[in-house]
């Protein structure tokens, strides 16, 4: 409900910090691994390119979209992706100025658009979840630790706005013991009006390696499933949660 007013700007207006003479350098957009090692063999290249930042971003986006709760924020990855996006934006400007073949420019633009889509969609899905479970997110330290600093600000502001709205429109008219935003009444033992993510839902997973998962929680019947690399499963989220966060299993 507050989503579209909030905007996580990816802007970094520092195009001007690059002088024109650097445009050749800027073409390389793999700052971390490639820059220091540009003459590596093709096998190395394969293994690196299979975990390029775009692949990682795609994985983060898919996991975030598919998981019922908010996942830990991929801060480093987002920063790297933003950096690359800025570089390419700068490059494209130079290409246009230098009169490069419009076809080539449009191809670079498409590559840029695809990465930007992933990043934007990733951040938006997170905002959607933060809004939906804002009270839950802020009262659980564990959940809050998954947010970025900007997201925490957003969540705090959402909670404050919504609570204020509830208070002014309804709660002020109720008896004192019914004025909580989180509890039905003063005698409620817990915060019983706080929507929480539904963790018993099922997700589609694909494993990256051999994983053994226990299908039920403590005290329930003991049953395990062995997943091999590439196996696709419908699986209860709670069961796969740990494996998703450790990267052994991807959601698709």
């Amino acid at each position: 409900m507050f989503l579209f007013t909030a905007r996580f700007s990816l802007t970094a207006s520092e195009t001007e910090t690059f002088s024109d003479g650097l445009s050749v350098e800027r073409k390389r957009v793999k700052p971390i691994l490639m820059a220091s090692n540009s003459d590596m063999g093709s096998a190395d290249f394969e293994s690196l390119s299979s975990t390029s930042d775009v692949e990682l971003l795609k994985r983060a986006w898919r996991n975030e979209k598919a998981a019922p709760e908010i996942l830990p924020y991929e801060g480093d990855l987002v920063e790297r992706a933003k950096g690359q996006i800025e570089l390419v934006e700068g490059n494209i400007e130079d290409y246009v100025e230098n009169g490069m073949d419009p076809l080539v420019v449009s191809l670079y633009q498409m590559d840029l658009d695809r990465t930007q889509f992933l990043l934007r969609s990733y951040l938006r899905v997170r905002l959607l979840k933060i809004e939906k479970f804002m009270f839950h997110t802020l009262k659980s330290e564990e959940a809050e630790s998954r947010l970025s600093e900007q997201e925490k600000v957003f969540a705090t502001k959402c909670v404050a706005d919504l609570a204020k709205h509830f208070e002014e429109s309804v709660l002020i008219k109720l008896r004192e013991s019914y004025r909580s935003v989180l509890k039905q009444s003063l005698i409620s033992e817990e915060d019983d009006m706080v929507p929480e993510p539904h963790l018993d839902t099922f997700v589609v997973s694909r494993s990256n390696s051999h994983v053994t998962l226990n299908l039920y929680e403590e005290g329930e019947s003991h049953q395990i499933v062995e997943m091999y690399r590439g196996d696709v499963y419908f699986i209860r989220y709670k069961v796969a949660k740990g494996a998703i966060e450790s990267g052994k299993v991807d959601l698709i």
Binding site: S52, K58, K65, V104, S188, F202, V204, V239
Partner: protein, 211 residues
């Protein structure tokens, strides 16, 4: 069960599935010279006329649309291979045949943009559609064998197929899990029935809407 999952979270549209499939590598034969492209998504090229090279599907389509290359259709996308697959899929009790994880998306993009590069295009297209239909019926049979469990393996089911049944299968599995949860039912009942009378004496400590 009712109202369990937010429909706007945890769903992928077919377009989003296609977007992911567009990163699959395909082989093209350029008809122009072009320097290597150093993309965020990786480096591709150089492009030399008549020299085949591997690029992501989206790039291949973009070049093809501008008349800059022809496609080398993937091996699996041939009349012979597809006929075999279709026959195998039709065998009673058969498993899903291995196909590329994005075969539905790849096939559609090639049919849309590279029809002149695919030998026997119409035959190939109708084979792919038949295969998809047979597999959809098989998927339904699989769904019919669901029961209360926490994990169901989907062997060789493709990205688009799994996405197609996802909203349904998820709800169904949640329902089965709720009804068939092993032991938890009885355990839950015992703790609850032994707990409730005690709670009763502590009244009034209760929420307005009981969970």
């Amino acid at each position: 069960m009712a109202g369990q999952t937010d429909p706007h979270i945890s769903l992928f549209s077919p377009e989003e599935v296609e977007f992911m499939g567009e990163d699959e590598l395909v082989e093209i034969v350029p008809n122009m010279n072009m320097e290597p492209l150093n993309f965020i998504a990786g480096d591709f090229g150089r492009f030399v006329p008549q020299i085949p090279t591997q690029v992501p599907l989206w790039l291949a389509v973009a070049l093809k649309r501008r008349g800059k290359c022809t496609f080398r259709p993937p091996q699996w996308l041939s009349v012979d291979n597809l006929t075999q697959i279709l026959e195998a899929e039709r065998e009673p009790q058969s498993k899903f045949q291995p196909l590329p994880f994005s075969y539905v998306e790849i096939a559609r993009l090639l049919f849309d943009h590279a029809r002149d590069d695919i030998p026997d295009m119409y035959m190939v297209r109708s084979l792919v559609e038949d295969i998809r239909d047979v597999r959809l019926h098989k998927l339904e049979n699989n769904l019919g064998s669901f029961q209360g469990t926490s994990a169901v393996k989907m062997d060789n089911v493709s990205a688009m197929e799994v996405n197609l049944v996802r909203p349904f299968a998820r709800r169904a599995l949640e329902a089965f899990y709720k009804h068939d949860k092993p032991e938890a039912d009885t355990a839950d009942r015992d703790t609850r029935s032994s707990r409730q009378p005690r709670e009763a004496n502590n009244e009034p400590r209760r929420p307005l809407r009981q969970r």
